[in-house]
C-alpha cells in the first residue's frame, strides 16, 4: 500500500538543460528535491541546438533550460511553450582561459594575452550558433584584436569543445564561459581573465515550459525555484550574472 501511495505521489520532472549548465543545475536539482520530496527531477544535458531540433518534434521534456534566448524564443513562436515568453534565468560571463601550466599570465595581460607570440591557436565556440562563440567574437571585435587573431582561431562545436581544445593542450588559450572555468573539474587547472561585460552583448540564458509537459505543476514549481533567491544564489556561485543585476 505504501509503495503504491508513494508512486502515486512522486512525480517525475523531465528537464532538458544546456550542457554548460551541468554543475549549477546539479546543485539546483539537489536543493529542489530536498525541498520537494514529491518530485524527482531527471535532467538531460545536451546542446541547445539539438534540444531545439528535438523539441520541434515534441521530444518528451517538461522544461527546457537553454544557454541562449533564441531557441526558447522560437519555441514560443511555434506555440510549443506554455507562457507567451521565455523566462530569463541567468546571464553568462565569458573569460579568457589558459591552463595552469601556461607561460602566459592571462590575469595581468588581459586581452593582450591573445597576442603573445607563443600563442598559435585560440579556441572559441562556433559563433554561428554557440552563444559564447558569438560573445567571444564581439569581444574580439570591440577590443580591436579580431583581425590580428582571426587566423589563429579554431572553433569548437560549443563552448565545452572549445574548452577541450585548451584542456588537451591542442590550443594554447581559449575564450570560454566563466561557469566552466569555475566548474570543479577545471577550477584548479587553469587561470582566467574575465572579458569586460560591455564588450559583448549579454549571453542571456532563458527557458520555457513545454505545453505537452506531463507534469506542468512541478515544472512550474521548479521554474519558480530557479528564479527565486535560492536559485539566484546558486547561479551566482557558479559564475553567472543574474537578470536585473
Amino acid at each position: 500500500m505504501t509503495s503504491r501511495a508513494a508512486t502515486n505521489q512522486v512525480q517525475e520532472l523531465s528537464v532538458a538543460a544546456a550542457a554548460s549548465l551541468r554543475f549549477a543545475m546539479a546543485h539546483l536539482v539537489d536543493r529542489f528535491e530536498h525541498r520537494n520530496a514529491d518530485v524527482r527531477v531527471k535532467v538531460t544535458y545536451g546542446s541547445s541546438g539539438h534540444f531545439f531540433a528535438m523539441l520541434s518534434q515534441r521530444a518528451p521534456f517538461d522544461i527546457f533550460f537553454s544557454a541562449d534566448i533564441d531557441y526558447p524564443g522560437r519555441l514560443v513562436v511555434k506555440e510549443y511553450a506554455i507562457q507567451g515568453a521565455p523566462f530569463l534565468y541567468a546571464i553568462g560571463r565569458a573569460v579568457i582561459w589558459v591552463r595552469a601550466d601556461s607561460p602566459v599570465s592571462v590575469e595581468s595581460l588581459g586581452i593582450h594575452s591573445l597576442l603573445v607570440p607563443s600563442i598559435r591557436k585560440i579556441a572559441i565556440a562556433n559563433p554561428r550558433h554557440a552563444p559564447y562563440g558569438r560573445a567571444a567574437r564581439s569581444a574580439l571585435k570591440s577590443l580591436g584584436v579580431y583581425k590580428e587573431v582571426q587566423s589563429k582561431l579554431v572553433y569548437g562545436e560549443n563552448v565545452a569543445q572549445a574548452t577541450h581544445f585548451v584542456k588537451t593542450g591542442s590550443a594554447d588559450i581559449g575564450m570560454i564561459a566563466l561557469s566552466l572555468a569555475l566548474a570543479p573539474p577545471l577550477a584548479k587547472k587553469g587561470r582566467y581573465w574575465e572579458l569586460p561585460s560591455d564588450t559583448y552583448p549579454p549571453i542571456e540564458h532563458s527557458g520555457v515550459i513545454l505545453h505537452w509537459a506531463k507534469n506542468p505543476d512541478p515544472a512550474e514549481r521548479f521554474r519558480r525555484f530557479v528564479l527565486g533567491t535560492e536559485g539566484r544564489t546558486v547561479f551566482k556561485k557558479y559564475g553567472y550574472m543574474l537578470p536585473g543585476e
Partner: protein
C-alpha cells in the same frame, strides 16, 4: 559505471545486428546474384545514409518520422505511438544507418561463393532456401562476420543518430556512447575515461572471442 546505459547499448547493438542479419542477408543475396539493372541503384541507396553527418541524418529521420508526416501517422495508427524518442525509434534509425556496414560485406562475400557449389546443392534436391542456409551462408561466413562486427561496433560507438532520434532519455534511449559523450561535454573527463575503458575492455573481449571463434577450419 552506468549499468542501464550499458544494458541499453547492448540491447541496441544486438537488436540492430539481429535485424540487419534478417533483413541484410536476403537483400545481399539478391544483390549478389541478380542481373537486374536495378541492383547498383539499390546498392547505392543502401549506402547513401552514411554520407550524411549522423546528427543530420538523425535530424532528417526525426523530420520524416514526426507526427506531421505520412510515415509518422502511418506508424502511429499501426502502433499507437511515434518513433522519435523511443527505443524502437533508435533501433529503427540505427538499422537504417548501419545497413551498408552489413549489406556491403554480405554482398561481396556472397558474390564470391563458387556458383558450381550452389548448383551442386540444387542437384542434390536441396531447395533454394536450404541451399542459402547450408551452402551460401557458411561459405560467405567471413564476410558475414565482417558485416556483423562492423555494424555491431559502429552501433556501439554511434551517438549522433541515437542522440537526435532518441533524445538522450536515461533508461530509454541514453546509450553508453551518448553517456560518454555527455561526460566529456560536462568536462567530467575521469568519468568518461572510466566508462570508455569499460566499453573498450568489454568490446575487446567480445571481439577477440568473435575473431577466434570466427576463424574457419576448412580451406577453399
Amino acid at each position: 559505471m552506468d549499468w542501464t546505459a550499458l544494458w541499453l547499448t547492448l540491447k541496441l547493438a544486438v537488436g540492430t545486428t539481429a535485424i540487419l542479419l534478417v533483413v541484410g542477408l536476403p537483400l545481399a543475396y539478391w544483390l549478389a546474384t541478380t542481373r537486374s539493372k536495378a541492383a547498383p541503384v539499390v546498392e547505392t541507396l543502401v549506402a547513401l545514409p552514411t554520407v550524411l553527418p549522423p546528427t543530420v541524418a538523425g535530424f532528417y529521420f526525426l523530420l520524416a518520422a514526426g507526427p506531421d508526416t505520412l510515415l509518422g501517422q502511418g506508424y502511429q495508427t499501426l502502433t499507437g505511438g511515434l518513433l522519435p524518442f523511443t527505443f524502437e525509434g533508435i533501433l529503427f534509425a540505427s538499422v537504417l544507418f548501419n545497413l551498408p556496414f552489413a549489406v556491403r560485406p554480405f554482398t561481396s562475400a556472397m558474390g564470391a561463393v563458387n556458383r558450381t557449389l550452389v548448383e551442386a546443392s540444387w542437384c542434390l534436391g536441396v531447395s533454394r532456401l536450404g541451399t542459402f542456409f547450408r551452402v551460401v551462408i557458411p561459405l560467405s561466413w567471413a564476410g558475414i562476420l565482417t558485416g556483423f562486427i562492423l555494424s555491431f561496433t559502429h552501433t556501439i560507438g554511434e551517438f549522433g543518430v541515437v542522440l537526435m532520434v532518441g533524445g538522450n532519455i536515461p533508461g530509454v534511449t541514453r546509450t553508453l556512447s551518448v553517456a560518454i559523450y555527455d561526460d566529456v561535454q560536462a568536462l567530467d573527463y575521469d568519468g568518461a575515461a572510466r566508462t570508455a575503458l569499460w566499453l573498450v575492455v568489454f568490446s575487446f573481449v567480445a571481439l577477440s572471442v568473435t575473431y577466434s571463434l570466427g576463424r574457419r577450419r576448412w580451406s577453399i
